[in-house]
């Protein structure tokens, strides 16, 4: 994997890291990835910024130097209006960018496959080399994972989560566990998580900045995403593609927990009284703004609900946005607000 090399990028990238590291630790989520995918993405960023930053510095430096040297009143006697072309310079200005673009293209293609949402090689890499991965994140390697991925051992079984977005909430279905939640995602640490995503209404975008990059969530279609989290903690996820009036409130909290805590959480959800049938889903899918991001649990999920949502959408099922919501801008929105 090229990602190892990127980590030891040119000194410029280190300087940049230092500079950005100086920014407030909290908030600059992209700079502090907590998962293999996000880390690959960040390292690609650093590499790209370092290379292009060099080009920009050279170009900007040239412009600044020439402006200073040849400004009127600089005393420069080198005024030469006939200097209007040079084969060497032309070759350089075409050739060098071409080489740089070639160099970056190589890494671009490589990182495309590393972060390919349908089959991210970065996760395979993280599973194959847990020690490297954890050390790269500034952590001691997890002995459980190291032994689990030793030759002959089975990698931790991936967790499957089906994600359905509505106007404007998130429904997370855990098909193997048979439970579901609204607006809360809980996953175990150092375990690959595989998402299937679809939307009941309009296009959304699944994004947890510290863990995984974006993937579109489209009605009537099913996209996939995969991630692995290397540290426990609370991370913020939200939709990143405008989906109407409740878009700004369309967030979900992502808890990355230890394996035991995860199992405990699943047991807690299984005790919830509510069941998620297609009819119940229809209630959730009515335009609703979950202002306080109140979390709801469902102890049972109708089998094949995810596919059924897609099928119904393909048949033409829509959850209409009421006219009053869009027309009447002054009165509070005539929409279900969960406060």
């Amino acid at each position: 994997m090229a990602l190892r090399k990127e980590h030891a990028g040119p000194p410029l990238s280190l300087a940049l890291l230092l500079f950005l590291g100086g920014c407030a630790q909290r908030g600059f989520w992209l700079l502090h990835p907590k998962g293999a995918i996000a880390r690959t993405e960040w390292h690609t960023t650093v590499l790209d910024v370092a290379v292009m930053g060099g080009v920009v510095l050279v170009a900007g430096g040239l412009v600044a130097a020439f402006l200073w040297r040849y400004r009127v009143g600089s005393g420069s006697r080198k005024y030469d209006p006939t200097y209007t072309s040079s084969l060497v310079i032309e070759l350089l200005v075409w050739g060098v960018p071409l080489m740089i673009v070639g160099y970056l293209s190589y890494f671009s293609v490589k990182s495309v496959f590393a972060t390919n949402p349908y089959n991210p090689l970065a996760i395979r890499h993280a599973l194959a080399h847990p020690r490297q991965t954890d050390e790269a994140m500034g952590r001691r390697a997890d002995p459980a994972l190291v032994s689990a991925t030793a030759p002959g051992a089975h990698a931790p079984r991936a967790l499957r989560v089906d994600v359905v977005t509505t106007d404007w909430q998130w429904v997370f279905i855990y098909p193997r566990q048979g439970v579901a939640t609204v607006d809360e995602l809980v996953v175990p640490v150092r375990t690959p998580v595989k998402f299937d995503l679809t939307s009941a209404t309009v296009v959304n975008d699944f994004f947890i900045p510290e863990l995984v990059g974006e993937i579109d969530i489209m009605p009537g279609m099913r996209t996939k995403q995969a991630m692995i989290a290397s540290r426990t903690g609370l991370y913020h996820g939200y939709s990143d593609d405008f989906s109407g009036g409740g878009f700004s409130w369309m967030g979900f909290s992502t808890h990355v927990t230890g394996r035991a805590q995860f199992n405990g959480w699943v047991r807690r959800v299984r005790a919830a009284p509510d069941h998620l049938t297609y009819a119940r889903f229809g209630q959730i899918a009515r335009p609703t703004i979950n202002l306080a991001q109140r979390v709801r649990y469902f102890s049972q999920v109708q089998k094949g609900l995810f596919d059924h949502v897609i099928e119904r959408v393909m048949e033409g099922k829509v959850y209409r946005t009421p006219l009053a919501m869009t027309e009447d801008m002054t009165k509070p929105m005539k929409v279900r607000l969960i406060k």
Binding site: Y118, M221, R222, T223, K224, D307, I310, E311, M314
Partner: protein, 123 residues
């Protein structure tokens, strides 16, 4: 400064008209649309082969009609039109080709197989 003074009928673009070529192109056009039609209607070949024939006939017709009807050649009168047309061809190809390509890869990934291959929701 008046083109009006000149006889517009002497304009080279008016003089491009050629009755014989028009008629010949007409006959060839009917042949090149009729022949693939005949093959297709009578299923004379595998779909792939027939599709190749259809594409080849369309391409040939493009050249023939372009040259003999629209007079896209490199004469002084017509060269800008020809150049514009030739420059547009990659755009047609990219618009259609790249779109088809990206949706082909998208469909295989995002359309659920059971729904794709069966008339799943025929009631």
């Amino acid at each position: 400064m008046s083109t009006e003074a000149r006889d517009p009928l002497q304009h080279p673009e008016v003089q491009l008209a050629r009755g014989g070529q028009y008629l010949g192109t007409y006959i060839v056009s009917l042949l090149l649309t009729g022949a693939p039609l005949w093959l297709v209607v009578h299923h004379l070949g595998t779909p792939l082969r027939l599709m190749i024939v259809v594409v080849a006939c369309a391409a040939a017709l493009t050249l023939i009609q372009g040259y003999f009807w629209l007079r896209l050649d490199f004469s002084r009168t017509q060269r800008w039109m020809t150049a514009a047309f030739v420059l547009f061809i990659p755009l047609f190809v990219m618009t259609i080709g790249l779109t088809a390509w990206m949706f082909a890869t998208l469909y295989t990934r995002t359309m659920i197989p059971t729904l794709m291959h069966a008339p799943a929701f025929a009631h």
